[in-house]
Symmetry: C2
Amino acid sequence: MSKSSSSIILDSFDLSILNILQRDNMTPQRVIGEAVSLSAPAVQRRIRRMEEAGIIQANVAVVDPAQVGQTITIFVEVEVISETAELIDAAKREFASVPEVQQCYYVTGEADFVLVIVVPTMTAYEALTRRLFFGNNNVKRFRTFVAMDRVKVGLTVSLPG
Amino acid sequence: MSKSSSSIILDSFDLSILNILQRDNMTPQRVIGEAVSLSAPAVQRRIRRMEEAGIIQANVAVVDPAQVGQTITIFVEVEVISETAELIDAAKREFASVPEVQQCYYVTGEADFVLVIVVPTMTAYEALTRRLFFGNNNVKRFRTFVAMDRVKVGLTVSLPG
DNA sequence: TAGTCGGACGCAAGAATCTTTCGTGTGGGC
DNA sequence: GCCCACACGAAAGATTCTTGCGTCCGACTA
């Protein structure tokens, strides 16, 4: 967990490499090298540098929730009562600590938090709401959107170059 | 791209392996084997089987958007006018085809679509709204939520076992 | 201009990992 | 009781990752 976050400068080689790794990080360095006109060791050094700088945050397998019994994806907008720093931080920590909460954003607008939740059943979701929202005095209101189709899901970032 | 989607049965070994790969798919099979009490080839066979079945959908590097100049994450709820199958499909295809759209869900509730968008600047977002929402006759209304903090971001699925 | 230094490269060797093959053991069905 | 399908582990082979080394290019300095 050594996040230097040195904010290094990326050239077009780095961006091309990222573009490949974003889609398939099992691509051999030799193949990446051929794609960007660089040797395999050069590719490897650049990848390591970007990992150390925190530009590459993780290397993960994407699992299809439906095939492991987690069939329901839900969006929730949460509105809080008091927006003091302490209460917001507490909410952030609480939401982030729940395994079913896949994503949590603190936002501006008509809501304060947006959550992406993945659960096996509606019953499980209901239990979660009771614990997370009704059991939290600072939650004023929340709105639920049940996903009928995960049209596009990814963390891929559109890169220049 | 061979998605058999045979819906194979997963035992607790598979789930443990998925749990590891979800967090770090660069973990050597030997290490995974030690963690789940299996030999490296057995782990490898199970991983390949899950990839072929589509349970493991992809292996990707997670890139920090902020460090590649994509500093703004935005949520958008989109409400359409007509919800015929053709128009919905057209919208799905259009949203999914935009690189800046990281995620797109078709949902029930007060909105029809929820999008997660990552852009470098507000100007870029404005241009995107003009093209994607104002330029689409079937979009009735859309609401924007700008993320101030990406509290938790991932695709990790909470697995039983 | 000449000299020095840092950084990144490619090549090649070594280390580690992945992948396949093969023989064995176990459980279900005939 | 026998056979077959399936998954396993061990070991060998193939591929990939990683490191060491010499070279090259650009920047900075005298």
